[in-house]
Symmetry: C2
């Protein structure tokens, strides 16, 4: 083990877009694992739109990251030394270990992963939180039924790309929304979406009318803003709007844009419902087995966008999410 | 029967507030009932916030009232002549007979009411659409449970006053929102609400924090706008927001104000759901029996605001709803 552990800590609460000055890059001494603990070297760090919300000091489903704290992040570490019975050197372990090069853990919230089944990074994506979010959001909150029409925004992202493919695997017609021709082509040509709308260049309302002529049964929303409003105009009777996220609003310095067309919930006897994936922890293993089986059968293709670098690249890499520069799950691989 | 039937017809689609010129006051010859029909004289005309939506030419749960058509309205008529086996002279009948003095009907959608159980006007309020709306909105859509905290906006209105009292009858803590000291005092002193917030003079968020310290389990929304946004900040886990109406937005000439705080649905694992009372028609009789029993037991007090006049007073009386001038169910009684 080297003498220092490079870390990214929160220096200030961002206003609007996160700026370089909002982060502190620092080096701490590397801890020894000590009794009942293991030490590990970080291999992959997850970058998630939800991180933006964790930086704000307001009540949410998790406490905000404190000023001066190591930035919260899911990651996969490789165990280097251990006094913990469940983790051995060479094991790969996923957990919320933060943006840092080295980790010492008592094992709480940590889970050993099987790298013979899937590459380590997949446990941050299709078999990690984004996959679980897509699965429970669509099937439990969205109460998806065979043959329904599903629209997914942020469809080329970590959650959206899995959500759309789960809906296909469940026998639904799936329309994706994404930005740019590359992502759109990937959704239809590689991932098997039935139709795709490029929200940057197309008239979203008009295209929704075309691609969901009988209305949207489940709208899985990752973006909020104008796209949510457009989808609300096209709901089928008894539609379900799954509120997974609102990436278009996270960097606002003005209030969030509320969905002006929410009264269509009344006209269409529809519901809009939010959820937090952690509530489904007891069922993660079952979901992961089902997603694994779909991956094995070629029904779900895993899209990962791997940036290779150091923890110092975390801030710039995080910005890619909000500029729409990633295709699939964005991870930072430590070189 | 007199020779002419005074009617109010829609002359133009209103922009913003409905103006006198948007209506046409006219007199038509009175029809004979003819075979299989009955004729009746209008006694009470219902005035409902939803009427504003019926004037707009946009897709909704009912087609818009056509330009030149008699204004759609629920009313109670007294049968004057009949060739219909189910309706006899002297009977009181409720139906969507429109804003006119005399009616000829084949009986479809008409229901004879028992004026020995309740005065005729009550069949436009507590035992009519507003009562049904409160009942199914709260119990079916809101899935109200004993002991929960319920917040009702537009609480002094036709639907809100019944919704709040049903929630009380079901063992809930009930907080009402209304405008002005008279309405607020009525809600707590007469109708038994646990607390009331005067949205015109009080800080709604602060008062919600005070009166619903453990959060709102069911928010029954009749108003939309800023009050909906305030309620969203105070949701309990797994809360239900019942979208019944949005009277604050109906006269907008700008887009509806969407709920900026809708992401609290995610944080609180909550849902927002709309409904249209007509979907529950098969269960109206059961709901009316239960509401009647509560009225009989003194657990629901019926508040009606009766304006006496002619059909020519309909436009001015309708305006009272949007100025918040009615207490309880607003009806126009024809002198």
């Amino acid at each position: 083990m080297p003498a220092t552990n490079r870390q990214i800590r929160l220096a200030a609460r961002p206003v609007g877009e996160v700026k370089p000055d909002d982060w502190q890059h620092c080096s701490e001494p590397v801890d020894e694992p000590g009794p009942g603990r293991f030490a590990g070297r970080t291999r992959f760090i997850s970058l998630d739109p939800a991180m933006r919300g964790w930086l704000d000091d307001r009540p949410s489903y998790l406490p905000p990251v404190g000023i001066g704290d190591v930035m919260r992040a899911g990651s996969v570490v490789e165990v280097t030394a251990s006094d913990h019975p469940d983790f051995q050197p060479g094991d790969h372990v996923v957990g919320t270990f933060g943006v840092q090069e080295y980790v010492v853990s008592d094992g709480r919230g940590a889970m050993k992963v099987d790298t013979s089944l899937a590459p380590p990074s997949t446990y941050l994506g299709a078999l990690g939180m984004p996959g679980m979010t897509a699965y429970f959001g669509l099937l439990d909150v969205g109460a998806l039924k065979d043959g329904e029409t599903v629209v997914v925004s942020g469809a080329a992202g970590a959650v959206g790309s899995i959500a759309g493919q789960i809906a296909k695997a469940k026998g639904c017609r799936v329309v994706g929304l994404a930005g740019g021709p590359e992502k759109c082509a990937m959704l239809t040509d590689e991932l098997g979406f039935d139709a795709v709308i490029d929200y940057r260049t197309e008239d979203v309302r008009k295209e929704l009318r075309r691609h969901a002529p009988d209305g949207i049964d489940v709208y899985f929303d990752n973006v909020g803003g104008d796209i949510l409003d457009a989808a609300l105009t096209r709901l089928a009777m008894h539609a379900r709007v799954v509120v997974c996220g609102a990436i278009s609003q996270y960097n606002n310095t003005t209030p969030v844009k509320g969905p002006s067309n929410y009264l269509s919930l009344l006209v269409r006897r529809a519901r809009m419902e939010g959820f937090v994936v952690f509530d489904y922890a007891e069922r993660y293993a079952q979901a992961a087995r089902e997603i694994s089986a779909w991956i094995g059968a070629g029904r779900i293709k895993v899209k990962e966008h791997v940036v290779t670098g150091s923890v110092d690249d975390f801030p710039e890499t995080l910005g890619m999410l909000f500029r729409g520069e990633n295709v699939g799950k964005l991870v930072l691989e430590l070189a």
